[in-house]
Symmetry: C2
Subunit: 397 residues, 2 copies
């Protein structure tokens, strides 16, 4: 049989990460390539008890079909959390529970993108978003990501494109770069959105995992009608249940609910009730602090080892939160060659190329610090330094 | 703010059912309008125990990110079930776990439908499929559903359209009609698919809930390379966890996995492990028999009441399984008027109109029998008969 598939399937990148991770899964290999939260901090016993209680006490209500919008007490909890943490004022009507933050991106693509709609995305940008949006065949417009946030000229030019859909970004501890936008940049982005009537998709998957600096002010607080905000329980509880949410102004929410209904009717009501009960019965702030403290130590170990061992011509970000840091090599060093050589030394890194929608990123790497012990972090960075030193020597010859 | 949405959002029907069900939720109302499985048979205690054991014993593996394809032991279980029940021979590589059967439809739409692709669908057809596919902007081609399956002329004409994507149907206890395709029709459909190199989406959400007649042979057994089969745990365990699966030939599966990854990364690994452990530790066949026996009694109550009370000019289907039967009124009687008048008598029915992609269905009703007691079924049918008799008298005057 010859099968004929939709055009969009030709435009969607097969996941480079997926293929890469396959070769890095061997237990001998120290992997900085993946992006998993640290399972040692998962609240296993608490969730086991909570799941049992939810099913036994809530009975059929935890197992039957449920509303598309999601479990109201959980949506209330999210609205209150936004008010308390960020000073964002929204009603539960503006919140939809999704199957993970990735589904937010799919639904946003579905309601906003026609074939050829121009979409602004940070350069480098989050790969999950590139994959989700690609399925709706947009024209990506890269907005350079500077150390304090998006390049304002790029953003301004993008927002003046006639067929302009939205700008997507991750202001807090971005994946892949680890960069957090400055308050000044947020204000300037909000002004630009306001002047050009633009829409911003503010992905806040890492906003709660923050171990340095103040809590930054979301763009949502500045131009609330023009911002859709995504959140996730993956980083603050666990990812395996696939629970996230979208917060959007009501006219956008109406379209999201229609799209969600066609997509999978509703999110698991069992998972929603387990998470709500867990949030109600256990001190979530203390748990998030424990995760953040753990990641801070791991991040600090990696930064310290890099400072000590990497060649001076290599630069890197020092994240304020999240799970990744970003390495920029001298321009003539190929991250693909680093990847291949590092693998021989049994250390896995992720070349930055797939995070660029316009090519580029040739000399960049993403390193994950949340899934290796301090010893492995130091050992891995030392091995990687050997690879980098050898490549630099060769390139200088 | 004026928001601009993608074209597809204008083409997607707001759920008529959704709006309808809102007015029928009052506890005073006897509702045949919905489509919920009977919660009295949910294995609540078993699932409570299983969920606790899975999280406690599997630990982080039940809570971490997981593979897009799904939990291998569960995919093995499905492959073995197909072999045993239907004589279908597939490997776990041909099975993808989804967030409910509705997500199968979304992923199928995503990989096969370009704007304007012609899609064949039964007339009347499953509303969830109409909604899911509409988001990809196909041209629907209705294939008349006769009492023994799709009209072969319609199918043949459809398969000869140049820009023809796939034919979607529900051969076992269809929603909304309750019709099960005959073996002869299945054979003829397979021959037509074979001759025209067509693709068939065989939705088998109700295949296990069967209370009359032999197990019919899936079209998948006849032209395996040309059939994608959807299944669901919603009707045989519970729907709230949103667990279903797609079974497709490998080249189609590759595209589905790419689409699934962009859509929500993977299905809840916790739900997959709960379902797998439940299937391993409890006698699922006995449980499915209990559900089927319960539904048979409810179906028989409804058919008996209809035979006794409905005017003779009203015809109806007698299902072999599933959750619905289908009523056809005399041509000049409006189901919308029946709906409005029945609601005043505190009984809710679902007009058949939204199940038609080309208009029509003016004089049809879908009745659900799984969610009312025998007393309520009889009482509701008597009230409905009064409405029908009054409307018929009026129309004869």
């Amino acid at each position: 049989m010859n099968y004929r598939f939709a055009d969009r399937m030709r435009k969607t990148p097969r996941s480079f990460i997926r293929e890469t991770l396959k070769v890095t899964e061997h237990p001998d290999i120290i992997s900085f390539a993946g992006g998993l939260p640290n399972p040692s901090v998962f609240p296993v016993q608490e969730l086991a008890k909570t799941a049992e209680e939810v099913i036994r006490e809530d009975g059929p209500a935890a197992l039957q079909y449920a509303t598309t919008e999601g479990f109201l007490p959980l949506r209330n909890w999210i609205a209150e959390r936004y008010a308390h943490r960020y000073g964002i004022s929204v009603t539960p009507d503006e919140i939809l529970i999704t199957h993970g933050s990735q589904q937010c991106l799919d639904l946003i693509g579905k309601i906003f993108i026609d074939k050829g709609t121009h979409i602004g995305i940070e350069r480098p940008g989050y790969l999950g978003a590139i994959q989700a949006f690609s399925l709706y065949e947009p024209a990506f417009v890269p907005i350079s990501l500077e150390m304090d946030g998006p390049a304002l000229d790029d953003l301004q030019n993008f927002l003046q494109i006639k067929n302009c859909g939205f700008f997507y970004g991750v202001p807090n501890s971005q994946n892949p770069s680890g960069i957090t936008w400055s308050d000044e940049k947020r204000r300037a982005v909000a002004d630009s959105l306001h002047d050009n009537k633009g829409i911003f998709i503010e992905d806040d998957a890492y906003g709660e995992i923050r171990f340095r600096g103040d809590i930054p002010r979301p763009v949502k607080t500045m131009v609330p009608d023009q911002v859709v905000m995504n959140g996730s329980f993956s980083k603050i509880i666990t990812p395996g249940m696939r629970m996230g949410w979208i917060c959007a102004p009501k006219p956008i929410m109406d379209q999201l609910v229609t799209a969600k209904q066609g997509t999978d009717l509703h999110s698991s009501i069992l998972a929603q009730r387990i998470i709500y009960r867990y949030l109600s019965e256990y001190p979530i702030d203390a748990y998030i602090k424990r995760i953040s403290d753990t990641y801070k130590c791991q991040c600090d170990s990696m930064v310290r080892s890099i400072q000590e061992h990497f060649p001076e011509s290599v630069s890197y970000t020092i994240p304020e939160g999240g799970m990744f840091l970003w390495v920029t090599l001298p321009e003539n060093i190929s991250s693909m060659e680093v990847f291949a050589r590092a693998l021989k030394e049994k250390v896995a890194v992720l070349p930055g190329i797939p995070f660029y929608t316009d090519g580029g990123g040739f000399n960049t790497l993403r390193l994950n610090f949340t899934n290796s012990s301090h010893e492995k972090i130091e050992d891995g960075i030392i091995r990687l330094s050997r690879v980098l030193n050898r490549l630099l020597e060769k390139s200088e010859r």
